[in-house]
């Protein structure tokens, strides 16, 4: 599970971690009954106070997304109806970021929505020029 934290993000760290877990669930890199990295491992990887990771895990447990197996660690919960909730929460976070970016460039909400549909339509027409490939290209 790849977790990255954005230093510019104003949200509390534990919320960011929770969202990253949700993202993994929605993407499928984390499935039901999969183990989450231990608090120690994740904290060390992110260089974050382990208490923050614990807090994130506890909140996820409270929401029923994960559960704790005594002596073995934290695991993704078996039921999968939450998928819908997770998708919604994730989509919301993505939309928020898109809006911020749009505003910074002086674009309005309707403009953005229209353009998103246009680009998606282009993608279907020419798969090689898909947003995903463009993203990869940007990275290189």
């Amino acid at each position: 599970m790849l977790v990255t934290l954005d230093p510019r993000d104003a949200r509390p760290l534990y919320l960011q971690i929770m969202d990253e877990v949700r993202r993994a669930l929605v993407l499928g890199t984390l499935r039901a009954e999969d183990p989450l990295p231990s608090v120690r491992e994740l904290a060390s990887e992110l260089v974050v106070n382990p208490r923050t990771v614990s807090q994130a895990y506890r909140e996820l447990e409270r929401e029923g997304v994960v559960y704790v197996r005594r002596g073995q660690g934290t695991f993704v919960a078996p039921e999968f109806d939450r998928d819908r909730q997770e998708r919604d929460a994730l989509a919301r976070a993505v939309a928020k970021r898109a809006l911020i970016e749009a505003r910074r460039n002086g674009l309005g909400v309707d403009e953005l929505v229209t353009m998103i549909r246009e680009v998606a339509a282009d993608e279907e027409a020419e798969p090689s020029r898909s947003a995903y490939a463009a993203n990869e290209g940007e990275k290189q």
Partner: protein, 310 residues
């Protein structure tokens, strides 16, 4: 005006408390009525320009220096009157340290220090030594600055103290080792209930690890708050200003205030609740175009440069 969060009630739950701590060197105030509050279990980073203030705080907590006035406590133990007991709770990495044990090997020095701490974990010390690439047969007198620092880290962590006082712990270490030290520190926090008070020039390293921040300026603690509140109250504002607009007197211009060529756009780092700041700006005729939050370092440094009241 101080931006701080500490409970109005007593000092329970704090690993470190100072009461009106003051210290002058010559004419300069290194510490001026500092009220430090480090909650238990917190990772508290002390930020400030180069000066005696930060190191002096550590030295007073270790009773190596005597304050001119005020007092300090570690877990409720007065650092002056109960010095030895207070120090037994602490793992200290000082700025520099000279010991008379030049002829000793590192391994022997670790054994020496181990004799003073009943909670010394030999297996853990070994683990730390390996993780930090310390060669135990080297003589203490012949260590480089980086090696000495790594040795001090082992000495501080191995007895699993409830409080770590780290004065520039990564100073003199190359970037790769610094990363390893931070990872070790994080793992240490996972295994041991510990509070950390750390001062460092490389604030960006503590970007994610720190959950509390204290900013010392001219000896005064101008800010002391947890990271969430810091992130909430310090923002960079991009505002559009009308022609001939002058910054009103109550907004002190922060160092990175920049104007775009056509003098219509301004970028400011301001401290305060976002809504009230935006309102204030609007009242002066400026229009807020964008607000971004900052990384920990930039946010904390804003307190060193300028403040918004209210």
């Amino acid at each position: 005006m101080s931006h701080s969060t500490h409970p109005a009630s007593g000092d329970e739950g704090f690993a470190v408390t100072t009461h009106a701590l003051s210290k002058r060197y010559g004419g300069e105030p290194a510490l001026d009525r500092v009220e430090l509050r480090v909650p238990e279990g917190a990772v508290y980073v002390l930020i400030g320009p180069n000066g005696a203030g930060k190191s002096t705080t550590f030295k007073i907590l270790m009773n190596l220096e005597r304050p001119d006035s005020g007092s300090a406590e570690v877990f409720g133990l007065d650092t002056g009157r109960q010095g030895p007991k207070a120090r037994a709770q602490v793992g200290y990495v000082p700025e520099r340290q000279d010991s008379g044990y030049r002829a000793m090997t590192c391994g022997r020095l670790l054994q020496h220090v181990a004799a003073y701490y009943s909670t010394w974990d030999h297996a853990y010390a070994e683990q730390l030594t390996r993780a930090l690439d310390l060669r135990l047969q080297r003589r203490v007198g012949g260590l480089s600055k980086g090696e000495a620092r790594r040795l001090q880290l082992v000495m501080a962590l191995a007895h699993r103290p409830p409080l770590l006082l780290l004065d520039e712990p990564t100073d003199g270490l190359d970037p790769l080792v610094r990363k390893r030290v931070l990872a070790l520190l994080t793992e240490h926090l996972a295994d041991t209930p510990t509070t950390v008070l750390i001062s460092t020039h490389h604030v960006y390293e503590m970007e994610t690890l720190a959950d509390h921040v204290g900013v010392l300026r001219d000896g005064r603690l101008v800010a002391q708050l947890d990271r969430d509140e810091l992130k909430r109250t310090v923002r960079r504002y991009r505002i559009e200003v009308p022609e001939g607009w002058e910054s009103p007197p109550e907004f002190r211009v922060a160092a990175d205030a920049s104007r775009s060529p056509n003098r219509r756009e301004l970028q400011w780092t301001l401290v305060g609740d976002e809504r009230s700041v935006a309102e204030k700006l609007a009242l002066t005729g400026a229009r807020v175009r964008e607000v971004t939050s900052l990384g920990l370092e930039d946010a904390a440094l804003a307190f060193l440069d300028g403040e918004v009241t209210g």
